[in-house]
């Protein structure tokens, strides 16, 4: 099967400092790919390369090629906003606008498609059901979303991303600021969404990666150390650094 | 990034607003050069060095240049110690609520219009100066300078206080822990860190004082002369702004008299811009201070 994302020899700089070093990688359609590695290794940077969220950072520079299907993302002709409609993203901390729950779900949709007003309530219901939030909030859709708990807010952020109907969902440590119950809910959600949706998730929790990922990418100090099926990496890693990391949570690269 | 590739009404509006905002100063500068050009042709450098001004005959700007200089000097000499002393007390001694009340009052006072200060000056200050120094006329360089010092006091004080407070608390703690007493701490640990901000505050005050028109016009006496001896500040005089305010209406757009006033405007413009740019390069070009007193700003 043809991979969805292909990175060819990607290096990335912020000013003088090199954050990614010659990374070549493919990400498969319909799978859950988890990027693991110690903090500061460049996990989030790789993730943000896939929807060009790094562009605004001062001193940003990239060499190599990133393909989404057949499109070279860092070509001049790429319409960044169309890319981001196809490649949704959920951040570490839920970012909720000071608006109602209803308006938060529709935040992207409202500004992207002008003639779908009659579908709005249906979209809200479907996406909130998809993130298992519907039963909790269906009676207070017009209340401020800021009153929700952190875990609810994060699921709302996912619903908001899903409402745009992306093909890919990037998740940047989506559970790191959440309580265990919400974490479980989101992990379970990721399993349910994969298949139709390609999911790339950055996490520093190995058990989480083990639980939800089909493929695992191990990054250390901007270098790709190992990439493979989840069960292979966790049971039988080929690289010494991976073994060390899995055992000691440390790596010398 | 100049996204002119595709025409989009929103962006076109943003760009044109932006162009208006950044070009206004330049347009005014060019206007002043063009309008004053004939007087420099007519009088040559004598315009700057001449001390006689008779409309229709001769135009010499020196008395006004002197007036602006001396009045600004008096204003800063009185305002600076008051502003610094009260900034030190406010920032280093007073409790937070008292400090906020004082700063709020200062901000409100900074908004009192020049014409109201002029009214205060003409009714109270001129009489006070006249009686105190036993003068024939209370209108003088000194009166104008004092009035200006009161006007710029809130600005200089508020900005100096901001500068003092921006020095990290650790510096003070460290100095106190080493056994310095409080005044030594302020001199050796706090002031060095705040000096740039204070310099910026003073330069801003100078710029304000030079450009203030109405209040000066009402208390300076409006006589184009350099006093004898030149340091006799208890005589009536003229500043660039008071001259422009007094004669602007009658000369608008007409003849050498107008060109000469535009020339005065150009001198004032260059002086104020020079000071503003020095201030900006000391405090940093990204500082928005003095436009609105801002509280905090997150960098992205």
């Amino acid at each position: 099967m043809k991979p969805l994302f292909t990175l060819k020899d990607v290096s990335l700089y912020y000013g003088e400092s090199q954050v990614l070093k010659n990374i070549s990688l493919t990400i498969d359609k319909g799978k859950v790919t988890s990027i693991i590695g110690p903090s500061g290794a460049g996990k989030s940077t790789i993730l943000r390369t896939l929807n060009r969220m790094n562009d605004r950072i001062p001193g940003f520079q990239l060499s190599g090629e990133v393909f989404f299907d057949d499109e070279n993302l860092y070509n001049n002709g790429t319409k960044v906003h169309l890319l981001r409609q196809n490649v949704g993203m959920v951040f570490q901390k839920p970012c909720i606008f000071p608006k109602s729950i209803y308006d938060n779900v529709l935040f992207g949709v409202r500004h992207l498609y002008s003639r779908r007003k009659h579908e709005f309530s249906q979209i809200v219901e479907e996406t909130l059901k998809a993130v298992s939030l519907w039963d909790e909030v269906k009676d207070k859709l017009n209340q401020s979303a800021l009153e929700l708990s952190q875990g609810q807010q994060q699921r709302l952020s996912i619903a908001r991303a899903l409402a745009v109907e992306p093909r890919v969902l990037l998740m940047d440590e989506p559970t790191s600021s959440l309580d265990p119950t919400s974490t479980c809910a989101i992990e379970e959600l990721v399993g349910r969404l994969s298949g139709n949706l390609t999911i790339v998730i950055v996490t520093h929790k190995l058990d989480q990666a083990k639980k939800i990922a089909d493929d695992v990418v191990f990054i250390c100090e901007g270098k790709l150390i190992e990439h493979g099926r989840s069960e292979n990496i966790f049971s039988n890693p080929s690289q010494q650094q991976t073994k060390d990391y899995l055992k000691w949570h440390l790596c010398k690269c | 990034m100049w996204p002119l590739g595709r025409w989009r009404p929103g962006v076109a509006f943003f760009i044109s607003s932006f162009l208006i905002s950044i070009s206004a100063t330049g347009i005014i500068f060019i206007f002043l050069i063009v309008e004053s050009f004939p007087i420099f042709q007519h009088e040559g450098l004598g315009f700057l060095s001449g001390s006689e001004w008779y409309p229709g005959e001769v135009y010499g700007a020196l008395p006004m240049i002197y007036g602006t200089g001396i009045v600004t000097f008096i204003a800063v000499s009185f305002a600076l110690p008051l502003a610094l002393g009260s900034a030190v007390i406010t920032s280093e001694v007073l409790s937070r609520p008292t400090r906020l009340v004082i700063k709020m009052m200062m901000e409100l006072l900074a908004g009192i219009p020049g014409v109201v200060y002029g009214l205060l000056g003409i009714t109270l200050l001129t009489t006070a100066v006249k009686n105190t120094f036993n003068l024939i006329d209370g209108n003088s360089f000194f009166t104008a300078g004092i009035l200006l010092s009161i006007m710029i006091l809130p600005t200089v004080m508020t900005l100096s206080e901001d500068a003092l407070r921006s020095v990290p608390k650790e510096y003070r703690d460290q100095a106190l822990a080493l056994g310095l007493n409080r005044s030594e701490t302020i001199f050796h640990a706090v002031l060095p860190g705040a000096i740039k901000g204070i310099a910026g505050a003073v330069l801003l005050g100078i710029g304000r004082a030079m450009g203030e028109t109405i209040s000066v016009m009402l208390v300076i006496g409006s006589l184009d002369r350099i006093p004898q001896p030149f340091y006799n500040i208890f005589t009536t005089g003229q500043t660039i702004t008071s001259k422009l305010g007094r004669e602007g209406a009658e000369a608008l757009g007409v003849g050498y008299h107008w060109n000469a006033l535009a020339g005065l405007g150009l001198i004032l413009f260059l002086a104020v811009m020079g000071i503003t740019f020095i201030g900006n390069s000391i405090v940093g070009p990204l500082s928005g201070r003095g436009i609105n007193t801002k509280r905090k700003q997150k960098k992205r």
């Binding site: 906003h81 981001r84 409609q85 196809n86 970012c95 935040f107 500004h111 992207l112 800021l146 908001r160 991303a161 | 990034m1 509006f13 943003f14 760009i15 044109s16 607003s17 932006f18 208006i20 905002s21 950044i22 070009s23 206004a24 330049g26 005014i28 206007f31 008051l82 502003a83 002393g85 009260s86 406010t90 004082i102 009052m105 409100l108 908004g111 009192i112 219009p113 014409v115 109201v116 002029g118 205060l120 009714t123 409080r182 005044s183 302020i186 109405i214 305010g245 602007g248 757009g253 006033l261 405007g265 413009f269 740019f277 900006n280 928005g288 436009i291 609105n292 801002k294 509280r295 905090k296």
Partner: protein
């Protein structure tokens, strides 16, 4: 001990200057109040001035000030907003410092120069003459930096995560401006506008020979007529300082003007103090 002596001298000096500064400011406020209050009554506020301001009230002067600053606000606001959005969202990083510098330069231009320039440009070149519209144009340029910087600071303080969240959903830059940047910086627009109006209301030099006339006009019937204003009214009466009745009315007008300006500044301070971004909780 010498060190202790220095400490005492230093703090005494500081306290003396503080007391002087604060009492000066109290004297000013109380002078305005004490002298202005006797002039103020309902009649003073609601009738037209008579006998060159010696008698009667300040109704049309007050309205003139409102007309001048209202139009100045209407003219300055969209330009300030557009420019603030452009400077924060479109302009390349390397040019932002220069742009800021030019805006601060405009803020520093002495107001009398705005008067000279504005008369020649709007009055003569655009043929608006000595009129309230000329005055409003001049005041609009004058307060532009105040409004602009306030909006710009509000935009810059929008938490970055809001922008990221919008961008990650695939909003274009224009949509982001409409969906996030403008709604999240409304408080900056209101405070900026209030500060700008307050500054315009206190300005005399820029409008005294370009937009106003002393007496004989009530409300302008067209764009090309002058108005009277509180600022210029005070100026003219102040110059008749020997006439006690004129002076009383000058103080009354001054108190009204100062109250007006302080209300606007207080309003902006209150908004600034109460609004914090939800995200900063």
């Amino acid at each position: 001990m010498r060190r202790d002596l220095k400490e005492v001298i230093f703090f005494s000096a500081c306290i003396i200057t503080t007391v002087t500064a604060i009492s000066l400011l109290f004297i000013i406020l109380s002078a305005i109040l004490v002298r202005g209050l006797p002039a103020i009554n309902l009649e003073f506020l609601t009738t037209e001035s008579k006998e060159f301001g010696q008698n009667g009230g300040i109704l049309y002067q007050t309205m003139g000030t409102f007309i001048l600053i209202g139009m100045a606000g209407i003219l300055a606001f969209p330009i300030a907003l557009g420019s603030a959005v452009y400077q924060t969202e479109y302009l390349s990083l390397s040019l932002r410092g220069t742009a800021d510098l030019l805006v601060y330069a405009l803020n520093a231009v002495p107001t009398i120069i705005f008067g000279l320039f504005g008369y020649m440009f709007f009055g003569v070149f655009l043929k608006l003459g000595v009129s309230w519209l000329t005055g409003s144009f001049i005041l609009a340029i004058m307060v532009l930096p105040t409004v602009l910087v306030s909006i710009k600071e509000a935009i810059e303080s929008i938490p970055f995560k809001y922008l990221e969240a919008g961008l990650a959903l695939g909003l274009t830059q224009e949509r982001l401006v409409r969906a996030v940047i403008i709604p999240q910086s409304i408080h900056g627009m209101v405070t900026g506008l209030l500060l700008g109006l307050a500054r315009a209301a206190g300005e005399t030099a820029a409008i005294m020979f370009t937009a106003t006339t002393f007496s004989g006009v009530l409300l302008p019937a067209s764009f090309r007529e002058p108005v009277t204003s509180l600022q210029t009214h005070i100026l003219i009466l102040a110059q008749e300082a020997i006439n006690p009745r004129a002076l009383t009315n000058a103080w009354g007008a001054a108190l009204v003007l100062v109250a007006l300006i302080m209300l606007m500044s207080l309003g902006s301070m209150l908004i600034r103090a109460t609004i914090t971004h939800e995200a900063e909780r």
